[in-house]
Symmetry: C2
Subunit: 346 residues, 2 copies
Amino acid sequence: VEAGNSAGETIGSLGEFGLIRALAARMPAGPATSLGIGDDSAVVGTPSGSVVAAVDMVIEGRHFRREWSSGTDVGVKAAARSLADIAAMGAKPTALLVALAAPGSLPAAWALELADGLAQEASRAGAGIVGGDTASAQFVVLSVTALGDLAGVSPVLRSGARSGDTVAVAGTLGRSAAGLALLTAGIGPTAGASLTAGAADLGPLVEAHLRPAPPYEAGPEAARLGATAMIDVSDGLLADLRHVAHASGVTIGISSGCLASFADDSLEKAARTLSSRTPSGSSSPLPWILAGGEDHALVATFPPSAELPAHWRVIGEVQAADAGSPGNVTVDGRSWNSESGWEHFR
Amino acid sequence: VEAGNSAGETIGSLGEFGLIRALAARMPAGPATSLGIGDDSAVVGTPSGSVVAAVDMVIEGRHFRREWSSGTDVGVKAAARSLADIAAMGAKPTALLVALAAPGSLPAAWALELADGLAQEASRAGAGIVGGDTASAQFVVLSVTALGDLAGVSPVLRSGARSGDTVAVAGTLGRSAAGLALLTAGIGPTAGASLTAGAADLGPLVEAHLRPAPPYEAGPEAARLGATAMIDVSDGLLADLRHVAHASGVTIGISSGCLASFADDSLEKAARTLSSRTPSGSSSPLPWILAGGEDHALVATFPPSAELPAHWRVIGEVQAADAGSPGNVTVDGRSWNSESGWEHFR
């Protein structure tokens, strides 16, 4: 089955085994794979003597809409979410297992695009796709398990941050949230259509929402640089740093000045464009940078002596825990919370 | 949150983090687990230098009904399906990762029972539960990834059966299918209710459908005994043997006489009971034994010299491939197919 000549064909008409064959043909084997798709289980090499594993779900209507996302977009996003969890341990992704439930009426071409998106992102991370399951459901549900290898480093946990450590980010912040805000405001594009005239330079933000691009190699790199704690930014920088602060028993202080480099021209323009349409909207991209999730940047803490390459941007410092307020995250010395936080930055 | 005092509470009222905490508290860590639930990923030991991995989905309305299955039943079944795939490679299960999507209105007690069922079956297999994800959906979707270790044996593939090999089964056949037929015929019980009077001795068949009990230890045992091919019976003995026959390029011949030991008194009684109600029903349990899936027995091929313990019941022999019909499975020398097969055995 080729995406190009399957007009009108659905996964129901392909049948379960036809679907599995068509999907499997598009999946990369991966260099660590001893036994891939086709038996009861896969076998994947773990030279370090342990396997790093995480699972993540993507559900139609909750995590994506088919009118906004192509099958490829959904495949990339589903793979990226799980692969980023492997990188956030300091590990190198090796393999994905994909469970897909979908209605029989799903166009076969969409399912093949989905496979292409999964394959594309797995390959970018150096991983194969080694197993899967398919089932019938009323809407699309994807569950992706990612496996990885530590390649000689110790796993970087959330609990290792120490007072005096440097906080740094690899990857982008706020771009996925800005892209979602643009889509929600109808600035588009819907799948396949163009952006509203005059907003073409905002396209990369929409793409960042539809197809996140976590910096996988920065994960093992951080481990080699001595990172004391690490997490991937899936819920938002402050929300995820709060997990690190809690697990480590520290306060994490962020400087808004250090976040300026994340606010490029397109983010500034998106904030201005949207605030002119919605009176309550912020004209600054800072709320997106602080609270927007799904870019899947990596944020890590490093000993002060660590020499960080430029793509690890320093954003703050780990401090001793506040008495009575363990796990606090501050911005310019002030506490931030999800209710009033947005107001502080307007 | 305790199952006993959460009347009226739903997973929506628990909230995502409350639900995760309540579920995680019920999960066994597992002896191979270096890092369990709570960070971006888990870390699980793989002393043999590779990991065996499989994923399987269980969906409400497709694989179970909440009026027939308790939360515990669904947890056991979901875990068993994936764990059996690990055993079918000859590997020892080490860990599960569980993705759960469910409606916010799901009773919290049901979700906790689900966790108990997953925990119970994982423990029976010697595995921990090391990671998960939760999401909101209109019905319950469970995706379970199982990991395992080969502990020094080579993986037993579907493709290694050779002419002259002995075919043998560990575990039960046909009991799950009989239990489903009883439930479908209204002989019950619905969840929590009793079986129809006079049918109490059929209860174990219903239980076999609701809570399959694969013989996990027989998987690594088969590998040590020199098994040349193995698969778990999830779609039905003949359907799954056909996968082995195809992958190995052989014919597999089953003897119906050898299957007699699978037809115990309860299976015979269930077949008689149901055939008296539905004129077209078979009065023999043989169709269930040959075509019923979901007991998750293990069926393996062994060199003729292998000395098999009694719990590996011999059912037939591997033969050279039929010319023009590779991958054939015969019963008493006759071809069987899913359309006419049932007729042959009535």
